[in-house]
Symmetry: C2
């Protein structure tokens, strides 16, 4: 167990040292400063880890997938910078967001530059499949935009079904995870079956990750979670929990949830009441079982792969994800 | 002459019919509607024309460069949508800008999606040099962002030299023109010399285009130009004219220009006075000679190419550019 944690840290450092090299330029200052700020802002670097492990899992050499791993992390940060503008978020990983520290123009341009830098890094991949690698990456860019568009649409739409929700998170969160695994497997020259299995592993853990995120918003330890509990409820966010609870609830409970949906949020003093509703109708348990189910499906995909350290570490990864409280 | 105009229109139609196919999707509505709105908004489609002509000029078949031509046009529109947000522009080609017709979030996401669609289209290029094609395109994305960053920096910086200015327009406007020509030549499998010559042709006409733009802001016919004369003066934009005039002017004239620079603009009733200063110090003539010089340099590059219709049309193109009044 400890050795996986160590390997994760080692890979994270490799990615971060390469990220540092992407921001060696000094000018234009108004662009290079915020780019450095974003890329040095930390984060779990989960997506690059998955690129690297996926490459290894099909018998490839980790180094070959390093540019793609870094590119995926930059792409992820591009979407965070732009989403933070749209969501009027003022902090990210404990620091002011780019549009708060500078302004919106700087944040728009920083995101754009990050996307360009992501492609530049990706194109450093030495692979005969570079065309396909770039296509997979581009599909990721487009779906992440579409996922964000649905997410914004849902904010003002009163009726969002579970099917709508699952499709949205598949695009907004899941796609980049499955792209990470697909890229690693393609660069590592995996077989068609291996590539498909790893991509689907990504799809399932992407879903697990997002539903766990919705769950943690209600039950996490505030210290470990790093943000205030119940933010989604206060903001009227149509999460797995709210959508499922609205389906199940009756009487006064349903009225309260309906008010939250109609008003696009509620006062912080309603958080406890909503949590009670979630518990009462078994919605928290349902979310947990959905996470467990997705993880089980993800792990099942891994059976296609040759046994070995990389595969073991992917099992370790999904288990860690299922039990995370941060 | 007429035949070149006809060919231009024919190529423009090919590009537009392919652009239409990029926006076949219907959902998410909040993203597909503004994407269609932008791509169907017209424009001269000059960059795609240059991609196609460049491909032909090295002996390639136009069809092969069509995806890259369309990709460049989408990339250009991506930068317009985001720049319009940053510049608080309310109209573009006689229609409301995306952030005015919808809102800023929609405009940010529309730009991002356009960039993704541009890459998707580019990757449809059938060429053994697809890796290099994508690299050239990516350098374009990054430099356009940097050019825009300099442009925004210059808005609040009091001292901008002619060297600063020329570097900025080379990135913001020139790069995409030279990338257009370079892409066409690479896809058409031109020789190293041909590719370099066409790229440099693009660099020179890109510069000519931008300085002509600065010039037309002061002297164009308002009807043909499609916007009010003197906008750059009112907005205190550090154009070729203002920078050069500030260098040359003395006494009261210099004081007026200094006030415009310091205050970041001036009242519309000063436009005539500034125009007089530009005339008095020979700045308009200097701009015209700079345009002519750039065009001459551009044309000189074409000597490397084999004689033929495509080369002739590039000569026609630069002459048209030098004499444009729109």
């Amino acid at each position: 167990m400890v050795s996986y944690q160590k390997k994760y840290i080692a890979y994270k450092l490799r990615v971060e040292s390469r990220l540092n090299r992407c921001m060696m330029k000094q000018e234009p200052v108004s662009l290079c400063e915020p780019v450095s700020y974003v890329l040095s802002g930390g984060g779990k670097r989960i997506r690059p880890l998955l690129v690297l492990l996926s490459c290894e899992a099909v018998g490839g050499v980790m180094e070959q997938a390093l540019p793609a791993a870094v590119a995926i992390e930059i792409l992820h940060n591009f979407s965070l910078v732009h989403d933070d503008i749209m969501d009027h978020a003022s902090t990210r990983r404990g620091r002011p967001t780019v549009h708060k520290k500078w302004d919106e123009s700087v944040a728009i341009l920083t995101g754009d530059e990050l996307l360009g830098l992501a492609y530049r890094e990706l194109l450093r991949t030495k692979s005969p499949a570079i065309g396909r690698v770039t296509e997979i990456f581009t599909d990721g860019v487009i779906e992440v935009c579409e996922g964000q568009a649905y997410d914004k649409e849902f904010e003002v739409r009163h009726s969002v079904t579970m099917v709508d929700y699952l499709q949205m998170i598949a695009k907004k969160t899941g796609k980049l995870v499955s792209v990470s695994l697909e890229l690693g497997a393609v660069i590592g020259a995996g077989s068609v079956r291996e590539i498909r299995a790893l991509r689907d592993y990504g799809t399932h853990i992407g879903r697990a990750f997002q539903i766990q995120d919705d769950y943690l918003d209600v039950v996490a330890d505030e210290e470990e979670f790093g943000k205030k509990i119940g933010g989604d409820i206060v903001g009227g966010k149509k999460t797995y929990l709210l959508i499922e609870a609205y389906q199940r609830a009756r009487g006064e409970d349903k009225k309260l949830l309906e008010a939250i949906i109609m008003n696009g949020g509620t006062s912080r003093r309603n958080v406890a009441a909503v949590r009670k509703i979630y518990e009462h109708y078994g919605v928290l348990a349902s979310a947990q079982s959905m996470v467990a189910q997705s993880i089980a499906r993800a792990d099942k995909e891994l059976k296609v792969l040759h046994p070995g350290q990389a595969r073991e570490m992917l099992y370790w990864f999904s288990e860690m994800l299922a039990n995370r409280n941060f």
